[in-house]
């Protein structure tokens, strides 16, 4: 039987050679080389000597970006909107069928809204195969890198939407390249779905009531006083816009685009004298413009290669940590005071703070801010638990 492009080798068993202990000595020699070599660390793949143990809790392996452990839901930091539009693609793609979604309904019109009311993943049955992340057209569900999931109660592994939400900033820290590939499409689709979401539906659980309160505050303020200058409140007041608001927003968008990479602090162009309703809309638009400008600035910061401006990213991260901390404090009243969710949020805040601290290489200021945020988160958790 002959084969192409290669020949058949009959293994030579070296019979007849005098076997008087030489093989044994070779074995000892090999083990001796390893004993001598093992007193230094094994650096890269090309070495076969040297100790290669990584003492887990102290030293950790650097996880590759494509590493996948458990699926999580992504929400946009600025608008607080979740990318998931409850299209059930991931539920259909999941082999062990562990994803359960219920779609949200518009309370007054009764129509279906492209947002998920409740999103459950049974972490204990999920085999983290990653098919859901590939099937999702809106890039709403991504695979996380967090594998320390030990828990003592089984129900702890039934993850609800509150436990699954992760901000985009967190995902960009763990898998930057993967997010860059899908960023444009995801953001465009997000804007599309935000338009079709009334009120606060579709906003990540822990942010929804804060944003609703913010909006009420804005209406009261707009109704009470003439259009005051747009305050730099970080809260992103985006809700379902009535038609004329939409027009104003379009104008503001165009202004922001015209303004180009103007630094965020530049005051929006003085709006022409408009009726009180228009005033409210204009003010809303102003704030929208400020946000857009800020996002542009932030985009520029992200685009700039290894931007020397580390402090700003660190400050941003610190602020975001503060938000998360404040969010932990203002737990959504609707969900029952759930001891574990608070603890989880506190841990996440601490992680985010630690991530922020790890991300800002040298600046002492950011460490202090991150530590501040972590402490505040811990206090919030403690206050919550009494």
């Amino acid at each position: 039987m002959d084969i192409q492009r290669g020949n058949i080798i009959v293994m030579d068993r070296r019979r007849g050679k005098l076997r008087a202990g030489q093989g044994l000595l070779q074995g000892l020699k090999v083990v001796w080389d390893h004993w001598i070599g093992s007193f230094r660390k094994n650096e890269n793949f090309s070495q076969i000597h040297g100790t290669f143990t990584i003492e887990y809790p102290d030293e950790r392996m650097k996880l590759p970006q494509a590493y996948r452990n458990m699926p999580v839901l992504i929400y946009d930091d600025e608008t607080g909107h979740e990318l998931c539009t409850a299209c059930y693609q991931c539920a259909r793609a999941c082999p062990p069928e562990v994803i359960h979604i219920t779609q949200a309904k518009d309370p007054n019109t009764g129509k279906m809204v492209p947002a998920s009311l409740e999103f459950i993943i049974e972490y204990d049955a999920c085999m983290s195969c990653g098919l859901c992340a590939e099937a999702c057209p809106f890039d709403a569900i991504k695979m996380d890198h967090f594998f320390e999931l030990a828990t003592d109660d089984r129900m702890g592994l039934l993850q609800r939407k509150a436990d699954l939400n992760r901000p985009i900033s967190y995902y960009t820290t763990i898998a930057p390249d993967l997010w860059d590939e899908v960023k444009e499409g995801a953001m465009k689709k997000l804007q599309g779905s935000i338009k079709r979401r009334p009120g606060v539906i579709g906003i990540a659980g822990h942010l929804s009531d804060k944003i609703a309160a913010r909006r009420r505050e804005l209406e009261a303020e707009a109704a009470a006083a003439p259009p005051a200058p747009a305050d730099a409140a970080p809260a992103a007041p985006a809700g379902k816009l009535s038609p004329e608001e939409k027009a104003a927003k379009l104008a503001a968008m165009r202004a922001a685009k015209a303004g180009g990479a103007a630094p965020a602090a530049e005051a929006p162009a003085p709006a022409p004298e408009l009726s009180p309703a228009d005033a409210k809309a204009a003010k809303l638009a102003a704030i929208k413009a400020a946000n857009a400008a800020k996002k542009a600035a932030e985009a520029s910061a992200a685009e700039a290669p290894a931007a020397p401006v580390d402090e700003k990213a660190a400050k941003l991260a610190a602020i975001r940590a503060a938000n998360a901390a404040k969010a932990a404090a203002a737990e959504a009243p609707a969900a029952p005071v759930d001891e574990k969710a608070a603890k989880l949020a506190a841990i996440r805040a601490a992680n985010a703070a630690k991530a922020a601290a790890a991300e800002a290489p040298a600046a002492p200021v950011d460490e202090k801010a991150a530590k501040l945020a972590a402490i505040r988160a811990a206090n919030a958790a403690k206050k919550k638990s009494e």
């Binding site: 293994m11 093989g23 044994l24 076969i48 290669f52 590493y67 999941c94 390249d177």
Partner: protein, 369 residues
């Protein structure tokens, strides 16, 4: 009490050296074995019934669990079967990536198998530690490419799930520097060692005719002297573009199986080197864009087979035109390589049973399915 009559020893499911949950009822006369009855099924997970309620793509992660030592090879077999059924053709770069991953699995499996075999002979995990170190390096490469070390789920219909990350190639080239040194060291430890020769020469002999009649495949068949390798006999995917040799043994005992596995590791390294030279770097070439992943194949059946490190893994799929396969049958090499164990062990000592089982190199996930 100890008159030398038939004594039944139960090398039971929890025995430290049966690879996974596998039980052997050995009847012994004095020290020599008169009869051996293998008992398995402890790891049966209803794999083929589950496959009938899953769509074609949903089955892909389940094929990782068949021979959990080399999941890439299982995916490759399943992907080939479905592509043949549906008629999707695979771009160049994807083919090269697939063969690269399968050959890396072969090195990984043989390093592990030799380590476990020497460990069964009582060598206190030294060769196993060396084998495991090389295996970890390859698993890290798999992790950076597919996302998981063991359950890779990396193959899709029409290509692979994701392209190689930028740091994959440099680490692969480093690995290929270490590979010849590792295989030579393993050979220096195993080939001349008098103790190992005494424990493995003329033990568990499987003559050529018996091997063929038992339809044994893979390194075990080649060790018995039959030069049958599917990559050469029926070259699938792009194996016809690489030149590599097929090692065969002379007697068909445990020692030949060790030598054949060591030589196969070298041949896999040769293939990987050729892949690195010929790898086209078309952007996005890792998958056929037109291939829809939730396929709906026309009614009909297909049988595709692949040369995994353990032998010939075949998938027989019958589709009735719906989204789910009507029948999903796996021809598992470990299961069929295990059947001659009873015959092979007869006449040898009790201590040899464990060595012969180790030389067959089975994984219970594939045997019980």
């Amino acid at each position: 009490m100890l008159k030398t009559e038939e004594l039944q020893i139960n090398i039971g499911p929890q025995h430290p050296s049966t690879h996974g949950v596998f039980r052997m009822i050995v009847t012994v006369d004095g020290e020599t074995i008169t009869d051996l009855k293998p008992v398995f099924g402890y790891l049966h997970r209803n794999h083929e019934q589950i496959a009938e309620v899953n769509t074609y793509l949903q089955n892909m992660p389940y094929t990782d669990r068949l021979d959990y030592f080399n999941s890439m090879a299982n995916n490759h077999a399943y992907a080939l079967a479905v592509e043949k059924l549906v008629g999707i053709e695979v771009p160049e770069r994807a083919e090269y990536l697939r063969v690269l991953m399968v050959e890396l699995t072969r090195i990984l499996n043989h390093a592990g198998a030799l380590g476990f075999l020497i460990n069964d002979m009582g060598a206190w995990q030294t060769q196993l530690a060396f084998g495991m170190r090389e295996r970890e390096k390859i698993l890290d490469l798999f992790e950076s490419a597919s996302g998981a070390r063991l359950m890779c789920n990396y193959f899709r219909f029409g290509g692979v799930a994701r392209d190689l990350p930028p740091d994959f190639m440099p680490r692969l080239k480093d690995l290929l520097i270490a590979m010849p040194a590792f295989v030579d060291e393993m050979e220096r430890l195993l080939r001349e060692n008098e103790i190992l020769l005494q424990r493995s020469e003329n033990i568990g002999i499987l003559p050529k005719e018996v091997a063929i009649s038992y339809s044994v495949t893979g390194p075990m068949l080649r060790a018995s002297g039959v030069p049958y390798d599917i990559r050469k006999a029926e070259p699938y995917s792009i194996y016809d573009r690489f030149d590599f040799d097929v090692p065969i043994g002379a007697v068909g005992d445990v020692y030949d199986r060790i030598l054949v596995r060591i030589e196969e590791m070298r041949q896999s390294k040769r293939i990987i080197e050729q892949i690195i030279q010929q790898l086209p770097d078309a952007q996005g070439g890792h998958i056929n864009p037109k291939a829809r992943q939730n396929v709906r194949p026309p009614a009909g059946d297909v049988y595709a087979r692949v040369e995994t490190p353990k032998g010939e893994l075949g998938f027989y799929l019958v589709s009735d035109g719906s989204l789910k396969p009507y029948r999903y049958k796996v021809r598992a090499p470990s299961f069929i390589n295990l059947t001659p164990l009873g015959d092979m062990c007869r006449g040898y000592k009790v201590a040899d049973v464990v060595v012969i089982l180790g030389s067959i190199d089975i994984v219970m996930g594939e045997v019980d399915r």
